[in-house]
Symmetry: C2
Subunit: 333 residues, 2 copies
């Protein structure tokens, strides 16, 4: 491997001078610079970032920890992070926890050893994140999508209450009063908050909440199917159903088809999070959509600020507002 010394020798200068032109610090005579550039070129010299990191005490590197890279949400977020981070000269370490706290702990360890300048993480467990009991020694961290209560970290999340509220409001204003809910688990924020939005909207529009219209699922496809079936077979079934995430929406749609109900006519569906088939089903699906890419961008920006030493009296919490994408009349007769 050719080093800065080889270049120096070839250009007949000292390593300091070579370093100066490589880093564009100026104060080098044009003729000298020319000679050095030629040497770099001819020797095919590639600066060793590792050695540089060593003395600079920073690696220009960001660790990204996600619970499931196969969930379409995260690739979009990562895209946002990457683009923004790259603009600031950072490269990403990517790691996948598979929703396992233990893996999260190991990955955190590995990335800290690698001396990342900062971390962007969606923790596997809001309640027992290793981020909390680990001694991070001031390493900047930004949380994405999942907020950790009382943590000292910045975070960028979605206003789940608002998202759900808007969805229900849409259904109410299109004439529905019998609105079912397929909720997420109550012990995680997205689950709890989306239910909260539903309840709040009903209250505001003075629609009595009926217990039998509210079913709690687990964010998995199967529960959407199952709970959809329960809702549809009520003696007085809802005319519309709000499903709290994409997978459950998928299950719900399958259920509706299997039950021989007609979408948009017998039953109207609005889901949280957009999905591929939303534009494919007939009529297309109205959904609550999140700015995933933007979440990544913001997270990266906030992290870079922290890395650059900016401080704030409180951890920052950016709450983005989801958008309702109306794709159908969704009217009730």
């Amino acid at each position: 491997m050719v080093t800065i010394k080889d270049v120096a020798k070839k250009a007949d200068v000292s390593v300091a001078t070579v370093s100066r032109v490589i880093n564009g610090l100026g104060g080098v005579r044009p003729a000298t610079e020319e000679r050095i550039r030629k040497a770099v070129e001819e020797l095919n010299y590639l600066p060793n970032v590792i050695a540089r990191s060593m003395v600079m005490k920073r690696t220009e590197t960001i660790g990204v920890i996600v619970p499931d890279i196969a969930n379409p949400f995260f690739p979009e977020v990562i895209k946002g992070i990457e683009e923004q981070a790259r603009d600031s000269g950072y490269t990403l370490f990517l790691a996948n926890t598979d929703e396992s706290v233990e893996k999260e702990r190991q990955l955190l360890h590995a990335l800290r050893e690698r001396r990342v300048d900062g971390l962007i993480v969606t923790t596997a467990d809001e309640q027992h994140s290793p981020l909390m009991d680990l001694e991070l020694g001031g390493l900047p961290v930004v949380l994405v999508d999942r907020h950790i209560q009382d943590s000292p970290y910045d975070s960028v999340v979605i206003d789940n209450v608002d998202g759900a509220y808007t969805a229900i409001k849409h259904l109410v204003t299109t004439g529905h009063t019998k609105i079912g809910l397929i909720a997420g688990p109550d012990h995680v924020t997205p689950g709890r908050e989306r239910t909260e939005g539903y309840v709040q909207a009903l209250r505001d529009f003075e629609i009595p909440a009926r217990d039998q219209y509210m079913k709690e699922g687990d964010f998995k496809e199967e529960s959407g199917y199952q709970l959809g079936k329960e809702l549809l077979s009520l003696s007085d079934p809802p005319t519309a159903i709000f499903s709290a995430n994409n997978l459950m929406t998928l299950g719900l749609l399958t259920c509706i088809r299997d039950q021989g109900r007609e979408l948009g006519k017998d039953i109207v569906v609005v889901g949280f999070d957009d999905l591929d088939i939303a534009t494919f089903v007939d009529p297309p699906l109205t959904v609550v959509s999140r700015p995933m890419r933007q979440m990544g961008e913001i997270a990266a920006d906030m992290l870079v600020e922290r890395i650059q030493g900016k401080t704030f009296p409180e951890p920052r919490k950016v709450i983005l507002i989801p958008r309702l994408i109306v794709r159908s009349p969704d009217r009730v007769e």
Copy 2:
């Protein structure tokens, strides 16, 4: 930051001894080791991998370059890579080229500067990959999904010919003789080879290939829609259509619905690559599916072997066989 020196001082030994216990090299008296471990613990010492890389001349790091992380194929591949790589102690740098050769060049440069021990890449352009004109200085590289002609790199790809052949064979054995093709672009391997499989199968089963049944798309959804329309409006339309990738299949399905044709009855569809909606449409879709995860695992394994210095007379090319997932009778009356 606490360093090995601090530990040494606290445990009243030399840094060499500390290094020995950290790396488990043995030859240290139990009492001494105990003292050192305690010091490590108390000081919360975290070895600096950067410094280690410096002297070891390897970073235990792999660069992964993909053209589009939002394409569901890649997260699966990455999962496979990551799992396998982690077992061997490697951490991944992830980078996204957005199908841009220029970005690929930049990323290659950045990762080489970072001294990755090896690269796994799906190049943005098989014909003009920067991997070919760049002086990589013997850096191990494994190609995934897209093979580069005459390159010195190992690769793991799919037998596209076989995949398409199997799909057509399935259609023939379920009674179809009028089989349409929505092909991928002829200038990229997956496009060309899948068409080849189609043609070969027809020949083997002695079904005359009709020009008007073969339409070339661009792997995008819209072309699936458009070409589907063309095929369906022929005076003697095919009874089955093979679509060469997931997005075009999606377009085709939308088209079929819009045209008021009944899937599985008026027209049978088989697609290359599985998709979410395959199990959702009625009847569910028969598809050619690839072992994405496995592709990643194999790529990682091959790369690690190369990193460890294994050599082979020829670049290795692993060709995986796709699997036909039959989800419907797909019979023709």
